[in-house]
Symmetry: C2
DNA sequence: TTGCTAAATGTAAGCGCTTACATTACGCGC
DNA sequence: GCGCGTAATGTAAGCGCTTACATTTAGCAA
């Protein structure tokens, strides 16, 4: 298993072997139509025989474009972003653009590093999640004229290009459904709120809906939790330790909601008879667990697709505007009226 | 929101502004110690004022290295690979190496395209999942002297560098546990077997264990299914439609097993009283659903970490050898003796 | 101060590619 | 077969960076 790195074949090697000029090789590679068929065939054969692949650096240098778009997501371990990112990648691939994914672990500092790393790689555009970040980040991007899109969030200001949905409004709508079932004592398991405007907006949506019904979220009815099932289960248990016990738990996302159900089982409580649980995102898991989750359906694939198209358009110098993606509430078995 | 792309500042701009040569700028950027402090300060200021970031292409061209490692995984939507890949990324980041992730949708042709795309980007090393692929792929990689590692799979041949576990042995071990509970009529929901040696090895492990107990897997006791919960549920139902009904279902991974449990609920069957279900991988989901899954625990993070280190070593020209990662069986509530 | 050595800095070539412009070949009507 | 317009191909410059080698500067001993 020796891996002696041979000097890779260059376009000159191909040109020599195919008995054409480098320009012709380049043309064939980038747009075969610009070369006569017979010539193209010779080039093709040479490329194959040599195992030639164009040198990215050389190309980037000559074209001043990398056909690459970057994305910094909070996490790749979590299903929340995976589907949207996958859709984005597929859309970009149609235009022969590669997606570079980096993850920030929900950490502002790491996010900044990843942004710099991506920019240094000469990306043509950048996708970021949410809006909350130091103004200097935006200043940096604008100064470099680097197109960027903020996803999983929507806002009607004109400061940035958004593709997403208003987390607060969706959350408010969901809460309304819970209230309509007759719940008056509601708890919430939120994601970690620091540096996470989506998580905060989801809380504030709940607060608004409660306020409209002359209710509110007491401090000990709101627990922050990291995004995994175990933590969700624990948060659920502390919420249940209070008296009177909440009859419905609104979770910042489906992973936490699944965790809450897990916690309920561990306490011997039946969802939704003893307590209702609702989530947010409608990832696969939401409909796969029992009882299936009432949740906010987010059209992740559509959002990823839109993000890709926005970035593609911006790269081409076209004018774009923010895309609002509408969410819907899906009612499933985990939400029912409170027990009497 | 105008994104007029200004010509980015180059190293010459910085050199001019700092009143030094480009060589000095380059030296300062790559290793500040090689420049006098006062000079470095001038350069630093110039860099900041201009918002300069070195052009990746130029650098790659001059150094013939990109500090980038590529990985082609079958899917990023699925939790199976996410955790390992995340760990790999973290380890690479310690050495200032970026991980480029591409997904092949479990399709050989797409995988080949992605490999080429990554190679064209000048990656210094490549991670692939599983062993099954056209020999020409390996010929291509070896011909270019590109270090690569095959992960999620282990084999004692010396043809490649592996980091993973023997899927067949792990699967055989799991099956043994099922047999020990007294099951004699066993069904299996496998992943799609074509072009997927891991999925096939898991089936063959089951077969071996059954054969050792003088049992076997009849054709209609094995169903292939794509990796999502809904399909798993459907596969489960067809398995259950047979008579006599299997008393235990072995699933190719945890997602399918979760799907099987979902199917069971839909049929009104209780797991594990009416039927046992076991999975493979031990992703988060496995312990989060009810009943929690008996499954094969794969140390994904350790595997990702090892993969990163192997690739880093190979890049540095060091000799390496395959890493075997050991799996363990975790017994949880989804497996019980068959009903009488 | 002078002369020497080592450290700091500068000069310029070249990495592999694309593309504007220059040149050559092809195919067609006569 | 000739001449022409167009399509195909070739030539060579230059993209931004690193680095071997050349030159200058600083620091120090005498």
């Amino acid at each position: 298993m020796d891996h002696i790195r041979k000097p890779n074949p260059t376009i000159d090697d191909v040109a020599l072997k195919a008995n054409v000029s480098t320009a012709t090789v380049s043309r064939f590679l980038n747009d075969p139509k610009r070369v006569r068929e017979a010539t193209g065939l010779r080039v093709k054969r040479a490329v194959e025989e040599l195992g030639y692949a164009p040198h990215f650096g050389g190309r980037a240098l000559a074209m001043n474009s990398t056909d690459t778009i970057g994305a910094v997501v909070p996490t790749i371990e979590n299903a929340i972003f995976a589907r949207g990112i996958q859709a984005m990648q597929e859309r970009l691939a149609q235009d022969n653009v590669t997606l570079l994914i980096a993850s920030s672990n929900y950490d502002t500092k790491q996010e900044w590093q990843q942004i710099q790393a991506l920019v240094a790689r000469g990306i043509d555009g950048l996708l970021l999640i949410g809006k909350d970040r130091d103004p200097s980040v935006y200043a940096f991007l604008k100064n470099r004229g680097l197109p960027y899109v903020l996803a999983w969030v929507w806002n009607d200001d004109r400061d940035h290009t958004y593709v997403g949905f208003p987390n607060d409004a969706s959350s408010q709508e969901l809460t309304k459904r819970v209230l309509e079932k007759g719940h008056t004592n509601i708890g919430m398991i939120a994601g970690v709120l620091a540096d996470n405007d989506r998580a905060r907006a989801r809380v504030s949506g709940v607060r608004t809906a409660l306020a409209n019904a002359d209710l509110s979220l007491a401090p000990d009815q709101l627990i922050e939790s990291v995004y995994d099932m175990r933590s969700g289960a624990n948060a659920f248990k502390s919420l249940m330790a209070q008296s009177p016990r909440p009859t419905a738990i609104i979770c910042g996302n489906d992973v936490l909601a699944a965790g809450a159900q897990m916690g309920a089982r561990e306490l011997g409580l039946i969802v939704p008879d003893d307590v209702s649980v609702v989530g947010f995102d409608d990832i696969d898991l939401a409909s796969g667990i029992s009882p299936p989750l009432t949740t906010v359906h987010v059209p992740h694939r559509r959002m990823g697709n839109s993000a890709a198209e926005l970035l593609l358009d911006m790269r081409a110098g076209r004018q774009v505007s923010s895309q609002r993606i509408d969410t819907t509430i899906v009612m499933r078995g985990s939400l029912a009226p409170p027990a009497m």
